[in-house]
């Protein structure tokens, strides 16, 4: 029998007793009302409350106890005593047992609904997937179900259709609404060679794309997996409730017996009065509210984050965010676009580019890509190189035409001199926030290449928001100080730590941690140690897999403004957890003494029915408070908070 059915049965059989109770003050007494009450309550106890007894008994046999133990013992005590009282012609309280069962079931009906609500967000994400797609098979387009699409398939997408899986456009172009995955509300233009994400919506164009990732490898599946893990993760604050819940029920049982003893033995109350107090204690105690406080808030908070393109990986991160005082940013790809472009070339343009392109061909550095792009645009043929060598944090060197050639940053200058004319040029370029790359042959610098990676349009606003919240902002970069400072000034960052070798980023984060908790925002492979070292690692979704793996929060939109939103959401979620726990504890800590009759002399007591109502309400209010987190205002762009 479902909980809902049990509730209705319980309610229907309790209502006559409720009417009887209302009529009583008017002096209307139904004749033989005790027998009617007995029969009605027997039905409630036998049908609606039976599962409580079963569950309580089977846990008891295993030396466990749960909420059902309390409800079962509480209602059974009231019921059995009333039968005894009926035969000995004393006052009965059948209705207490019936009403408590009704209220507890009512609470559970709502709670079940709310809990399903809280966990639904993720299923909604999965529902976003396309059901089928037009796939090229044997030279013809055929419609195949999603599960039969394999990597390498070429798929056609028409306007208004959903993109089935992740892949790369091979033909045509369009704009795509990616909001369901990234949270980005603006449609994104896509051309040949651009990646498309499964489950996003194609808007106006028709295009063909080659499937790269299918099934559980798609971005959506990965996100779903991540969010699922987060939603069910254990927040450290829960360790407290874990301990409490283990001893909670037996303690309440003991307290209830103690209540009876004190009233009956020491205060000389009648058995009935003492029992009512004891039953109230059993019924008001609510271990469920304690147990539900954290998981439900975590579920709603992380689910809401996923919808905004902010993936919070676990409950631990939420707790740490609360104390973050410093936010450290990586520069390239985080504050800046991460797509550097060559802006100036000093020296013999052709010679400089030929050497640089040849050396950078096998490098994966983002600056290398800029140089290669430029060389390609200028149609320069790269020379063949040998003895290729990377100089960590400084650059690369190799042999070209029996000459030792090198490309690198100003750390190379410790070994190689630069003439004053080039030096002047270098300073000028660096003051313009451009990164200068040195190109040399045989220990002599032949030219400079200036590369600029402009800040993202939103970086400035993002930093301003964080600063308005009283956070200290720091930029950590491998770039030289002048460039770094110019960018920092542009976006409004307080402090700059420049010239950091890739391996040292984590050490700098550690040093900053001495002053308080640190959040690190980054995207590259070299950021992974810092992301792990920081109390809160925030990875850009466009970043490398290893960075995403290392971060505690992932920003799918790559929008720096989401840092503030992520911090705010985490804080709100954690505060909601604390609020829930507070309420759950208050219910029990205040409710139990009142139910035990401690405030009897002040006229403050709780009948078992009211206690049952309060108990049902406590779990319900905790779950409701969690679900309301969906409505909490998260506005990353509030300048003064």
């Amino acid at each position: 029998m479902t909980i809902t059915k049990r509730f209705w049965i319980s309610l229907i059989f309790s209502i006559p007793m409720l009417i009887g109770m209302i009529l009583m003050p008017f002096g209307i007494m139904v004749p033989g009302s005790e027998w009617i009450q007995f029969l009605l309550t027997t039905v409630v106890m036998g049908v609606a409350a039976r599962p409580f007894m079963d569950s309580a008994w089977s846990s008891f046999k295993k030396h466990h106890s749960n909420m059902d133990t309390l409800v079962a013992i509480g209602t059974a005590t009231a019921y059995i005593y009333s039968i005894y009282a009926m035969f000995t012609h004393q006052a009965v309280f059948f209705e207490s047992a019936a009403f408590v069962v009704t209220f507890v079931l009512l609470g559970q009906v709502f709670e079940e609904r709310m809990r399903n609500n809280a966990s639904n967000a993720i299923e909604k994400l999965v529902d976003l997937q396309a059901k089928d797609a037009e796939v090229m098979r044997n030279g013809q387009l055929v419609r195949v179900p999603l599960s039969e699409i394999v990597a390498g398939d070429v798929i056609r997408v028409k306007p208004g259709q959903k993109i089935a899986v992740d892949g790369v456009i091979t033909e045509g172009n369009s704009t795509v609404d990616e909001s369901m995955v990234t949270g980005e509300s603006m449609p994104v233009a896509k051309n040949i060679g651009d990646k498309v994400i499964g489950s996003t919506m194609n808007s106006n164009g028709t295009f063909m794309f080659k499937a790269e990732k299918v099934g559980s490898d798609t971005m959506l599946s990965q996100i779903v997996e991540l969010v699922k893990k987060a939603q069910n993760s254990h927040a450290p604050i829960q360790n407290l409730t874990d301990k409490v819940s283990e001893i909670f029920v037996p303690l309440v049982l003991s307290l209830s017996i103690l209540t009876f003893t004190v009233w009956y033995v020491f205060l000389g109350a009648s058995v009935a009065t003492a029992l009512i107090f004891a039953v109230s204690v059993l019924v008001i105690a609510c271990p469920c509210a304690l147990g539900l406080a954290t998981p439900t808030a975590l579920m709603v908070g992380t689910g809401r984050g996923a919808k905004m393109g902010i993936l919070i990986k676990n409950g631990e991160v939420l707790e740490d965010v609360n104390d973050v005082t410093t936010v450290v940013f990586d520069k390239t790809g985080t504050i800046t676009k991460g797509k550097p472009e060559v802006t100036d070339i000093i020296g013999d343009e052709k010679q400089v580019l030929t050497i640089a392109a040849a050396l950078e061909e096998s490098s994966e550095h983002p600056l290398a890509a800029a140089i290669l792009d430029k060389a390609q645009a200028e149609q320069i043929q790269a020379a063949t190189v040998s003895n290729f060598q990377a100089i960590e944090g400084k650059g690369v060197s190799a042999t070209i035409n029996q000459q030792q050639a090198f490309v690198g940053n100003d750390k190379l200058l410790n070994e190689i001199k630069i003439d004053s004319e080039l030096n002047k040029q270098m300073i000028r370029l660096q003051d313009e926030a451009k990164t200068v790359v040195f190109v040399g042959v045989d220990q002599r610098i032949v030219g400079l290449i200036a590369i600029q990676d402009a800040p993202k349009e939103t970086s400035k606003e993002a930093i301003a928001t964080l600063k308005a919240r009283g956070l200290r902002t720091v930029m950590l970069t491998g770039d030289n100080e002048r460039v770094a400072k110019a960018i920092a000034q542009d976006v409004g960052i307080d402090e700059v730590i420049a010239d950091v070798l890739p391996g040292d980023k984590a050490d700098h984060v550690e040093a900053l941690q001495k002053a308080g908790k640190v959040a690190f925002v980054g995207d590259g492979i070299n950021d992974a140690p810092a992301l792990t070292m920081a109390d809160v690692g925030i990875a850009m979704g466009s970043g490398t897999d290893i960075a995403i793996e290392s971060g505690g929060i992932v920003l799918m939109k790559n929008d720096l403004r989401d840092v503030a939103k992520a911090l705010e959401l985490s804080k709100k979620t954690f505060n909601r957890i604390k609020l829930n726990l507070f309420w759950a504890f208050v219910y029990n800590v205040l409710g139990i003494p009142v139910a035990a009759g401690i405030f009897y002399t002040f006229g403050l007591t709780l009948s078992p029915e009211l206690a049952g109502f309060a108990m049902a309400f406590s779990s319900l209010s905790v779950v409701t408070s969690s679900v309301l987190l969906n409505k909490a205002k998260i506005s990353g762009d509030v300048k003064t908070a």
Partner: protein, 123 residues
């Protein structure tokens, strides 16, 4: 006299509660049988989990089959926080849960309200 008797009975009951719930009692445990490079254990959900501790062999794909016989909504979900699994257990229906046994260790599982616990040991 009656009151003193009641007092003694009450104290005895409290004593019993403490002994019964907090005393050391053996928990039902089980080790999975490995056959055809697969292992599985049936877990009955009724007022808790039996067995409560499941030992699995490392590296062998494992399935835990949960069957909820208890009507209590306390037990209507099973959560493995380490694996991100949160599965509904409809009453009297067997639900299979795949356990990743690639890493040795102890993994807790709990009911949806974190009141009842069980443990998987992979070794």
């Amino acid at each position: 006299m009656a009151r003193i008797l009641v007092l003694l009975i009450c104290l005895a009951m409290i004593g019993f509660i403490f002994w019964w719930f907090f005393g050391k009692h053996e928990v039902a445990s089980a080790t999975a049988d490995v056959a055809d490079n697969k292992q599985s254990v049936d877990v009955e959900v009724k007022g808790g989990y039996s067995p409560e501790v499941v030992t699995l062999k490392k590296g062998v794909p494992a399935t835990l089959n949960f069957t909820r016989k208890d009507a209590s909504s306390c037990l209507d979900r099973v959560v493995f926080s380490d694996f991100g699994i949160n599965k509904e257990l409809p009453q009297n229906e067997q639900q299979s849960i795949e356990i990743d046994t690639s890493k040795a260790g102890e993994y807790q599982w709990a009911c949806g309200m974190d009141m009842f616990h069980g443990k998987v040991i992979v070794k």
